[in-house]
């Protein structure tokens, strides 16, 4: 068997079957050797192996062409003309790499902090990883939908079983919100299937669609993706889900699951219904700007660190949707490419930064069992190494040049200047507001005098935590200082995409 023919399948199914194996191993081997037991080691090996294999995605990826690579296409349900059709391009490959990169870190971060049913916890993350890679690589509409929905189940369990006090409310809200959004996408898929006789996304992209249908399909897709991103005003599930989720759940949610929405816009909305997207682009930009400005003010008011980062995520994801929909407001393709690449870079960078910030909060929470800003103060005195990391990630979140947070935001702001001064003006407020809420949190938590007893006895990072945060810090700086490899990877695909959406499909 030639494994290179099934490269993406291996990436998807290795973690899924690894997760099933973990369920079979069970908690019986949770303790044991100094390593933390068979089950944890298995989880680490599987996720690390997946990451190592996925590196071939980078090494073997051809930047210069915009066609799908690593393609697999096998009949799945012949009677419905559904194919098991996988492939990656410059949009999905970086997101898959992000997924395989973050998951081992989540496994390490949860190493000995999860006491209840750890085998199921790790299994849920591994299965979730496989399904998320499936979403990013599926090129058949039905297959995409299967991964998209199936992904909800492990996350539902992660928040519900290992979450905080109001976990049931949060996880049901998460599930029902996203489910409601995505079922309408299913209706749109079935409509397109009936139109074309196929679920192939490229067939969807080629087929001419009338304007009314395009508008309706755009709205159906929008509901699915706007909930996932999340865009204002359907963002309210996110703060609840983040606050109640265990650290690992928050990380995956912020780092990867939110990106599904942005990915969906690029993969489905823009190319399948370009005229519908054009029609609604003004509204999309307005919603993005509201998310950036209004949600930043909301973030300023938060008392809970996780909630603050959650709102900051919504604001930063506003940049992503802003960058994607600037196309119709810019003269000339180079600006549009800049906006869209900026959105993509922002997705990757936000994945790293928000994940890192949630891990930082997790580090504090494991020690003090509180997420309230008011319960901390002067952490830098007792945890200097941790404080250095957290300040770095906070700076990155505020868009400090030299960190990855700056690159994407800067690209989008430049692109919006080309479109309209006021877009850029409003978008740039995040540089002020983002700095305000992040640094104010840092000031209250990290600096100042030691606030109370609990802070005074804090122990600094252990080796495990240091590795996780260190790896993330390096990658945030690397993308900030040298974003070229990432931008090159997606450039050809985005140019191709822009050319495609430039043609009307009416």
């Amino acid at each position: 068997m030639d494994f290179s023919q099934h490269f993406l399948s291996i990436l998807i199914w290795l973690p899924v079957f690894g997760g099933i194996a973990l369920l079979a191993i069970g908690d019986r081997h949770a303790e044991g050797s100094g390593w933390g037991g068979t089950m944890r080691v298995t989880a680490l090996i599987v996720s690390a192996l997946t990451f190592l294999i996925s590196l071939k995605l980078y090494a073997g990826f051809r930047n210069s062409i915009a066609v799908m690579q690593f393609v697999e296409r096998v009949e799945w349900i012949p009677s419905l003309n559904v194919f098991y059709y996988l492939g990656v391009d410059g949009i999905s490959a970086p997101l898959i790499l992000l997924t395989t990169f973050i998951t081992p870190l989540v496994v390490i971060a949860a190493w000995d902090t999860i006491k209840v049913r750890p085998a199921q916890y790790f299994a849920a993350f591994l299965i979730l990883e496989g399904l998320m890679i499936g979403v990013f690589s599926a090129l058949d509409g039905l297959l995409f939908y299967v991964f998209w929905e199936a992904m909800l189940v492990p996350m539902f369990l992660i928040i519900g079983v290992w979450g905080g006090a109001r976990r049931v409310y949060a996880t049901l809200k998460f599930f029902l919100y996203t489910f409601l959004g995505s079922v309408l996408m299913l209706v749109a898929f079935i409509y397109l299937y009936r139109l074309t006789g196929s679920f192939d996304l490229f067939v969807f992209m080629e087929v001419p669609i009338g304007m009314t249908a395009q508008k309706l399909i755009f709205i159906a897709f929008l509901l699915a993706f706007a909930v996932k991103v999340p865009m204002w005003p359907v963002h309210t599930w996110l703060p609840d889900a983040h606050v109640e989720a265990p650290t690992g759940g928050s990380v995956i949610l912020a780092a990867i699951m939110l990106k599904m929405g942005g990915y969906g816009f690029l993969r489905l909305s823009l190319p399948i219904v370009p005229d519908g997207s054009a029609y609604f682009s003004g509204m999309m930009i307005a919603l993005s700007l509201i998310a950036i400005v209004y949600i930043s003010f909301v973030a300023l008011m938060q008392q809970d660190m996780k909630k603050l980062i959650a709102y900051s995520s919504i604001a930063h994801m506003g940049f992503v949707t802003l960058g994607f929909f600037l196309f119709w407001w810019i003269q000339g393709d180079s600006g549009a490419v800049l906006g869209m690449s900026g959105g993509m870079v922002q997705m990757i960078s936000h994945g790293l930064i928000s994940g890192a910030l949630f891990l930082c909060v997790g580090v504090l929470y494991d020690r003090v069992h509180s997420r309230q800003i008011a319960d901390y103060g002067g952490v830098a005195n007792t945890m200097p190494v941790f404080a250095a990391f957290m300040v770095l990630f906070a700076m990155a979140n505020a868009g400090l040049p030299g960190t990855s947070g700056f690159v994407g935001e800067f690209m989008v702001i430049i692109a919006s200047f080309k479109a309209n001064f006021w877009f850029a003006f409003l978008a740039a407020t995040i540089l002020v507001l983002g700095a305000a809420y992040t640094l104010w949190m840092i000031k209250r938590v990290i600096y100042g005098d030691v606030a109370n007893e609990k802070v005074s006895v804090l122990k600094d990072l252990n080796r495990r935590e240091f590795i996780v945060l260190g790896v993330l810090a390096v990658s945030v700086l690397l993308i900030g200082l040298w974003p070229a490899p990432l931008v090159d990877m997606m450039n050809a695909t985005i140019e191709h995409l822009i050319e495609r959406i430039g043609h009307s499909k009416l």
Partner: protein, 477 residues
């Protein structure tokens, strides 16, 4: 006519003969060894299954002067019904023994009900249909009352009987009008008469049709004829509920397809609207009222009502593909329903009915495997891919969109989201809550095995749904 053609009815003859054998043999079995009756019944079902496979018709065969039909559709439905009756017997055995109601009558009545279902499935005239329906209904009434000392069982049996009699009366009344207008009871001749003389398609026939739809609505448990369903599901002992919830749905589907499509297909324009209204009501009422239930049997009863809405909406489209989608949906729904009631039976034990949702609390800690199976079943009923329930919904939404009913399609998916809440609540109780009841699950190895297969089946079918859809399209076309 060659007597050999009657061989098409061999399965019915087989099961009738075997019922008599089991009934008599059961007299010589004492309560200690009642399991002998169980195994005899299973053997009888096995032989019936064999006779079904042996008489597989390649084409449509009509015998008994046009009142009995054997075609691929009847073949598939009968095999499935026999299989589900066997599964319900297996799940029931330990429960009945533990609760001192392990009577031979359970199996005998169950098989008589199966005979009724088979007659319904193969009916080609109104009277055959009615005969089968009553055979099934009478054995169901009795089964509900099988625990005669239980007040709720007796009450629900009474309710079922009275309402069932009214519905049968309505159906019979409708049949008499149709007979009066078309001059025939045979489905083929009714269809031919309507096709021949368009004048017949007028108020008197519609009047009869309306009563027939009342009967169908009652059998399926569609709103507003659903009132019996939650009470019966709740009142009956769980194995009986399992029986009622599984195989008879296939017979109800046959009833609908044979009467509405085979006989009255020419009146599609007339009955489509009626079916659509009761289907939409079923979808909404079923899904919304299910949220308020604390008893899982009642909850699953309302969920059944909601699923019936889906099945009827597929039939509403009036295309072959729509009917195939209805068949696919019914078959896959019954797999999940049988498994869910199987898990409820598994959690029950002597003197203890695990029928409240709260009894599922902490199941993940007590038995991770069966919690996983129940999760599969619930997700399948919700319609989450890759479980098979999703593909049932996919097909139905597909045919509804084919008819350009975009509003209906949106309504269906929104109703599914509402429905998701109460299925998720079961998962929530199993996984997020601490167990209140710590008793070890008791059941025999064969039950566990079949229950596990049942749970895995909704996943396995979901990964490989193609062949079933092809089969459904073939037997309908």
């Amino acid at each position: 006519m060659n007597w050999m053609t009657y061989i098409a009815a061999l399965p019915e003859m087989t099961i009738l003969a075997l019922i008599c054998v089991v009934l008599v043999a059961d007299l010589f079995v004492d309560d200690e060894h009642r399991v002998v009756t169980f195994w005899m019944s299973m053997a009888a079902l096995g032989i019936t299954l064999w006779s079904l496979l042996a008489t597989a018709p390649d084409a449509r065969i009509v015998i008994f002067s046009g009142s009995y039909v054997s075609d691929p559709l009847s073949q598939v439905l009968k095999i499935a019904a026999t299989g589900f009756v066997a599964i319900s017997f297996l799940y029931a055995r330990d429960y009945l023994r533990a609760n001192d109601i392990h009577k031979g009558e359970y199996y005998v009545l169950g098989m008589i009900g199966l005979l009724g279902m088979m007659i319904m499935i193969s009916a080609n005239s109104m009277l055959t249909m009615y005969l089968g329906m009553e055979t099934l209904a009478l054995s169901q009434y009795t089964l509900v009352a099988i625990d005669r000392n239980n007040v709720t069982s007796a009450e629900s049996a009474m309710k079922y009987f009275v309402l069932g009699a009214i519905a049968s009366g309505a159906l019979l009344y409708g049949i008499s009008w149709i007979y009066g207008v078309t001059g025939s009871l045979e489905f083929d001749r009714i269809a031919a008469a309507i096709a021949l003389d368009p004048q017949l398609n007028s108020l008197p026939l519609w009047f009869g049709l309306a009563f027939v739809i009342v009967g169908i609505g009652f059998k399926f448990g569609a709103v507003p004829f659903h009132m019996w369903l939650p009470d019966v599901y709740h009142g009956a002992r769980t194995p009986v509920t399992l029986y009622i919830a599984s195989a008879p749905k296939l017979a109800a589907l046959a009833l609908t397809l044979r009467i509405l499509v085979d006989a009255l297909g020419g009146l599609h324009d007339v009955w489509a609207d009626m079916i659509m209204v009761i289907a939409v009501l079923s979808l909404l009422v079923g899904n919304i009222v299910a949220i308020a239930q604390t008893n899982i049997k009642r909850m699953l009863a309302y969920s059944t009502i909601a699923h019936v809405g889906f099945i009827l909406l597929a039939i509403f489209c009036g295309t072959d593909e729509g009917n195939a989608a209805a068949l696919f949906y019914t078959l896959t729904y019954v797999v999940a329903a049988a498994g869910s009631f199987g898990i409820i039976i598994l959690l029950s034990r002597r003197g203890y009915e695990a029928e409240n949702l709260a009894d599922f609390k902490g199941l993940n800690a007590r038995s991770p495997w069966f919690a996983l199976m129940m999760m599969f079943l619930m997700l399948s009923l919700t319609g989450i891919p890759p479980f098979i329930g999703f593909f049932g919904k996919l097909n139905v939404i597909g045919v509804v969109l084919d008819g350009n009913y975009v509003g209906l399609a949106v309504l269906m998916v929104v109703a599914s989201v509402i429905g998701a809440y109460y299925y998720l609540r079961v998962i929530w109780y199993m996984y997020f809550e601490e167990a209140e009841d710590q008793a070890v699950l008791q059941s025999s190895a064969d039950t566990r095995l079949v229950l596990s297969l049942n749970g895995v089946a909704v996943l396995a079918l979901g990964i490989m749904p193609g062949w079933l859809w092809v089969l459904c399209l073939q037997v309908i076309g």
